[in-house]
């Protein structure tokens, strides 16, 4: 990302002159308080938004002015996880994970099998036929991670994936992300929990008011702490 700016039509500046590089296989925290620009940065990386100015390259692909007919090819090389899980409530656990494969051209049987394997890896095999609403928040987030992972992406963009989870579940989910990173997946993890950053000493990119800050300003009262498990 080189000199990236993002200004919304309402003249609100979300990002201002962001320059950063994340290497392949890295685990990076993008940390900052609510409204600091973390989500905008991740949305630009996932091609959900275009920067107003600047240049963005993801996995060797220039996405500053993305070709919207080819974005899906790049998206298959990334996994996206969000705070609100975005699971399909009328489907089972397996169907949610298999959905990501089905809509990218796998047969139903193939998708079901691969989803089952992924759920085993993530410790939810025994619950694969359960409806999504029967799962706890932590389990739902693990399903969302399984769905993001099932296409074997090289990059995971996680936008506050632990934002709705209790402290213990947060640590469980962080464990999964750490494992994935150890297996070579690049992870960009947006969070406002400084506790997480302290506990998992990965690279930190602090964001404040749309700019990369020196890190000290991020650790303010606005940033919530992970109380348990510390």
């Amino acid at each position: 990302m080189v000199h990236v700016f993002k200004t919304y039509p309402s003249q609100i500046s979300a990002l201002s002159d962001i320059t950063l590089e994340i290497s392949s296989g890295e685990f990076t925290f993008v940390a900052g308080p609510s409204g600091s620009g973390k989500s905008t940065l991740l949305r630009i990386l996932s091609c959900a938004e275009k920067p107003t100015r600047g240049e963005v390259v993801v996995d060797g692909v220039q996405i500053t002015h993305p070709d919207f007919t080819k974005i899906h090819q790049l998206r298959r090389r990334m996994g996206i996880v969000s705070q609100d899980f975005k699971l399909l409530r009328d489907r089972t656990v397996n169907e949610n994970v298999a959905f990501a494969l089905e809509v990218t051209g796998h047969t139903r049987r193939e998708a079901k099998g691969k989803a089952s394997d992924m759920l085993r890896r993530i410790g939810l095999k025994e619950r694969e036929d359960a409806p999504i609403l029967a799962l706890s928040a932590g389990e739902q987030q693990r399903v969302a991670i399984a769905r993001a992972m099932v296409n074997s992406p090289s990059l995971i963009l996680a936008d506050e994936p632990t934002g709705n989870l209790d402290a213990k579940t947060t640590l469980d989910v962080m464990g999964i992300f750490s494992d994935l990173n150890h297996q070579g997946t690049t992870i960009v993890f947006a969070t406002q929990f400084t506790g997480l950053i302290k506990r998992f000493p990965y690279r930190l990119i602090p964001i404040l008011n749309g700019q990369v800050s020196d890190g000290k300003k991020v650790d303010t009262d606005e940033v919530r702490e992970v109380k348990a498990g510390e």
Binding site: S46, F68, H72, R75, R77, E102, V103, T104, A148
Partner: protein
Amino acid sequence: MTFFLQYVMRRAFQNMMGNLFPNLITIGIIAVSILIFSTFTLLAFNLTNFLKIWEDKIEVIAYLKRGTPSSEVEPLLDRTRLLEGVEIVRYVSPYDAMNFMETKLGGQKNLLQGIQPALLPPSFEIQLKKDYRNPAKIDEVVGHLRETAQFEEIQYGQEWVDAFSALVHTLRLTQWILGGLLLIAIVFITSNTLQLTISSRREEIEVMHWVGAGPGFIRVPFYVEGLIQGLLGGGLAILFLYLLHQGLLLHIPPSMQAWLAKVPILFLPPETIAWILLGGTVLGFFGSFVASTRVLRYK
């Protein structure tokens, strides 16, 4: 490819079943719109058919001036036969005319009592070649006949033909204007229902975007949904029209049945039905295309 088609069909039906009520309403509205258009098409088709039968039977009658010497009749017949567009010419003497009238009046022929055949003018009944049995060509032949001094009056039901042609023309015009308006309505309705379907599937579509589903996987099921709505709407319209047509035929009063044996009330020909069904399907597709272009932008 087979997998893609299976996927698309499954998704389209799932979408339709998931939004059954709006889909049924849309199909119903499309059916009513196409039924209105098809009714006008059927009316215009039958009137055109009637006009053709009428034109096929059309004859020009040229009344000779009273006192035309009989020696002039034969050469005049020959000259008339040579006119362009004329197929058969038959001389009708005053006596033939009287016989014809008596036959037509049947039991009431006593009405003609006291009328001398000599009062009736002799005439030529002129049958035209097939290509000349239309208002423009008839005018051409009649123009030539009028140049002949021995003819006093020429009749060929021009006003009726013209009025009927104008009626058919107006009907066709109404059919196409209505068709145009209904076309816009169908696109609007399909597009709105599909926006509803798309909006009820917003989360699913968002996930599809996230996981890298191709535009085909996201959009084509909605296109197919529009196609199915259009096809079912068109099919229902044709079915209703057929039932109406059959119902009408069953309720024709006996007095009209003999007349209708000569001018049958036809149903739409298969190629017109195929065009209407294709039109409905294309309109449904276009509606879904408009909806998906509006709300399914890749993001």
